[in-house]
C-alpha cells in the first residue's frame, strides 16, 4: 500500500485535483455546482490526509481525515443545501466579470504562485508541491469572493479558503493537534450556519442577497 502510494505519486494527483476543483469554480453558473465542487474538494482533502497518514505512519492523521470527511464532506454540504432551499434562490450566479476572464485570471494566479515558490518546501517530506497548491487555492477562492455578488457564493469562497488554509497548515506541520483541528472545524460549522442565517436575513430585508444593494446604506 505504502509503495503503491509512492510509486503512483497519489499525493500529487490528489493535490492537483484539489487545485482543479478550485479553478472550476470560475466556470460554474449555478450555486448547486459550487456545493458539489466543495463536496468533492473536501473529500479529496480527506483522501490526501489519509494518504499521508499511510505514507508517513502517523495514526493521529486518520482522525483528522475522518473529521474532515464527516464535517466538510457531509455536514456542511447538507446545511448549505438547506440554506439554498430556504432562500429559494435562482440558480444563476452573476459574476462581476465574465467566466472566461475569471478563468484566465485564476490560471494566472496559479502561475504566479508557482513562479514565486519555485523550489517548493519540504518540511514534512511527503511532497514538495502541496504548499504551492494550497496557496493557489487560497488566492483563487479570495478572487471568487471579490468578483461574485451573491452573499452565499462569498460564503462558498470562504469555505474554499478554509480548505486551502487547512491544506497549507497540513503541508507545513502535519496538521495541528487534534483538539485545535476540532475547534477549527466547529468554527467553520458555526460560521456556515451564522452566515447562512445572515444571508437569509439580507434576502428577507432587501428582497435580494445581492451585496451591491448594501451600498445604499452608506451615508
Amino acid at each position: 500500500m505504502k509503495n503503491w502510494l509512492e510509486v503512483y505519486s497519489i499525493v500529487d494527483f490528489i493535490s492537483v485535483g484539489l487545485l482543479l476543483t478550485a479553478v472550476t469554480l470560475n466556470a460554474f453558473k449555478s450555486i448547486e455546482s459550487y456545493v458539489k465542487a466543495y463536496t468533492i474538494n473536501s473529500w479529496l482533502l480527506a483522501c490526501l490526509v489519509a494518504a499521508v497518514a499511510i505514507l508517513m505512519d502517523e495514526p493521529h492523521l486518520y482522525v483528522a481525515a475522518l473529521l474532515t470527511a464527516a464535517t466538510k464532506g457531509a455536514l456542511i454540504p447538507i446545511i448549505l443545501r438547506k440554506i439554498i432551499k430556504q432562500m429559494r434562490i435562482t440558480h444563476i450566479i452573476q459574476p462581476a466579470i465574465s467566466n472566461a476572464f475569471s478563468l484566465a485570471v485564476s490560471s494566472l494566479l496559479v502561475a504566479v504562485v508557482y513562479a514565486s515558490l519555485k523550489t517548493g518546501i519540504t518540511v514534512t517530506g511527503f511532497s514538495r508541491n502541496v504548499l504551492q497548491i494550497a496557496i493557489a487555492v487560497i488566492l483563487i477562492s479570495l478572487f471568487i469572493m471579490i468578483t461574485r455578488k451573491k452573499a452565499l457564493v462569498m460564503v462558498m469562497g470562504l469555505l474554499f479558503m478554509e480548505n486551502g488554509l487547512f491544506l497549507a497548515g497540513f503541508s507545513l506541520t502535519f496538521g495541528m493537534p487534534t483538539i485545535i483541528e476540532l475547534g477549527v472545524l466547529f468554527d467553520v460549522l458555526m460560521g456556515v450556519i451564522i452566515l447562512g442565517i445572515f444571508a437569509v436575513q439580507i434576502r428577507r430585508t432587501f428582497a435580494s442577497a445581492d451585496l451591491d444593494n448594501l451600498t445604499v446604506l452608506k451615508g
Binding site: 500529487d12 492537483v16 472550476t24 485564476s106 490560471s107 508557482y114 517548493g120
Partner: protein, 305 residues
C-alpha cells in the same frame, strides 16, 4: 515495411469512422449502416460527376488536393506501429499542427470561394474554433514534449509508458477536448447532419460534389485518425514497437487496433450522451480546456514530472 505505416492510417481511416458510426447507432438503439459504409460512399463519390459553380476560382479546384495532401502528410509524421521510422524525423508536433493549419486554411478559403452564405458561415466558425483550439493543442503537446526533451513525436513516444503524473492527465483531458473540436464532433459540431444551421465542417464543403467531395471527406477521416493516433501514441504508448521485427510489428498492430477501438468507443459514448452546445457557448468550453492545458504545463514545470 516500417516506412509504409502511414498507409495504415490512409486506408483504415474510413473504417474508423464507420466503426464510430456503428457504435453510435448501437448505443442509440438503431441498427445503423455497416462499418464499411464510408468506403462505399467514397467509391460512389469517386464515380460520380461533379457540379462546379461558374463563379468559383482556381482555389475551389485546388483546395481538395491541398487538404488531402496535408492530411496525408500529417499521417506520415505520427508513429503508428513502430517509433523506428525515417519519416517521423521529417517533422515534429509543431510541424504537425502547421500541416493541419494549412489544410484548414484552404478549406476555409474554399468555403468562401463559392460565395454561398453557408460556406462563409462555416469558414468563419471554423476559424473562430481554430484560434481557440490550436494554442490549446500546442500547450498540451508541449507538456509531453518537455518530458521527452524533444518535440519529435517518436522521441516523445519513446520517453514514456503511460500517464503517470497529474500534469499528463490534465494535458490528456485538454487534448481530448481539442480532438473533439478538430474532428468536428459533438459538442462542437455535429458530424451527422447537412441540414442544420449550426454546422461548421459540413458547411464549408457544402458546395463540393463528386471526386472533390470524396477527397475532402477522406481527408477528414485521415485527419481524425491521425489525431486519435497522436493521442494514443503520446498518452498510452505501451505496446508500441520500438524495433522493426515482424513479430514486434504484428503484436504492435494488435495492440494498436485494440486501443483505437477503445478510443472509438469513448468518442461514440461522448457523442451519444452529450448535446451540441450553442456556438456562442463554445468559447466557454474551449477556454476551460485551454486553462486545463495551461495548468498542465505549469504543473509540469513545477513538479518536474
Amino acid at each position: 515495411m516500417e516506412y509504409s505505416q502511414f498507409l495504415i492510417i490512409i486506408f483504415f481511416s474510413p473504417l474508423v469512422n464507420g466503426v464510430i458510426k456503428k457504435l453510435k447507432a448501437y448505443m442509440q438503439g438503431r441498427v445503423g449502416a455497416g462499418v464499411l459504409q464510408p468506403y462505399y460512399d467514397l467509391l460512389r463519390l469517386f464515380k460520380k460527376g461533379m457540379v462546379v459553380s461558374r463563379v468559383t476560382s482556381w482555389i475551389f479546384a485546388a483546395a481538395p488536393f491541398v487538404v488531402f495532401t496535408s492530411a496525408a502528410a500529417a499521417a506520415l509524421l505520427v508513429p503508428v506501429l513502430t517509433t523506428q521510422s525515417v519519416f517521423t524525423m521529417m517533422g515534429d508536433v509543431i510541424a504537425l499542427i502547421a500541416v493541419f493549419a494549412l489544410g484548414r486554411f484552404f478549406m476555409a478559403l474554399a468555403g468562401l470561394d463559392a460565395g454561398t452564405a453557408f460556406g462563409g458561415e462555416g469558414s468563419s466558425r471554423e476559424m473562430t474554433v481554430a484560434i481557440l483550439v490550436e494554442p490549446m493543442m500546442m500547450l498540451a503537446l508541449f507538456t509531453a514534449a518537455i518530458t521527452a526533451g524533444s518535440t519529435n513525436i517518436a522521441r516523445i513516444v519513446d520517453a514514456q509508458h503511460a500517464i503517470s503524473s497529474p500534469s499528463h492527465l490534465l494535458a490528456f483531458a485538454a487534448l481530448m477536448v481539442a480532438i473533439t473540436a478538430e474532428t468536428g464532433r459533438v459538442p462542437v459540431d455535429n458530424p451527422d447532419t447537412h441540414l442544420e444551421l449550426t454546422m461548421i465542417h459540413e458547411g464549408m464543403i457544402l458546395e463540393y460534389s463528386g471526386r472533390y467531395l470524396a477527397l475532402m471527406e477522406w481527408a477528414h477521416y485521415i485527419k481524425q485518425m491521425v489525431l486519435f493516433t497522436l493521442a494514443i501514441d503520446i498518452f498510452f504508448p505501451m505496446g508500441i514497437a520500438r524495433i522493426t521485427g515482424t513479430v514486434g510489428l504484428a503484436l504492435s498492430a494488435g495492440v494498436y487496433a485494440g486501443k483505437m477501438l477503445g478510443f472509438c468507443i469513448v468518442m461514440a459514448a461522448v457523442e451519444s450522451t452529450r448535446a451540441k452546445v450553442r456556438f456562442f457557448q463554445l468559447p466557454g468550453i474551449l477556454g476551460g480546456a485551454f486553462v486545463l492545458a495551461f495548468l498542465s504545463l505549469v504543473t509540469h514545470i513545477m513538479m518536474g514530472k
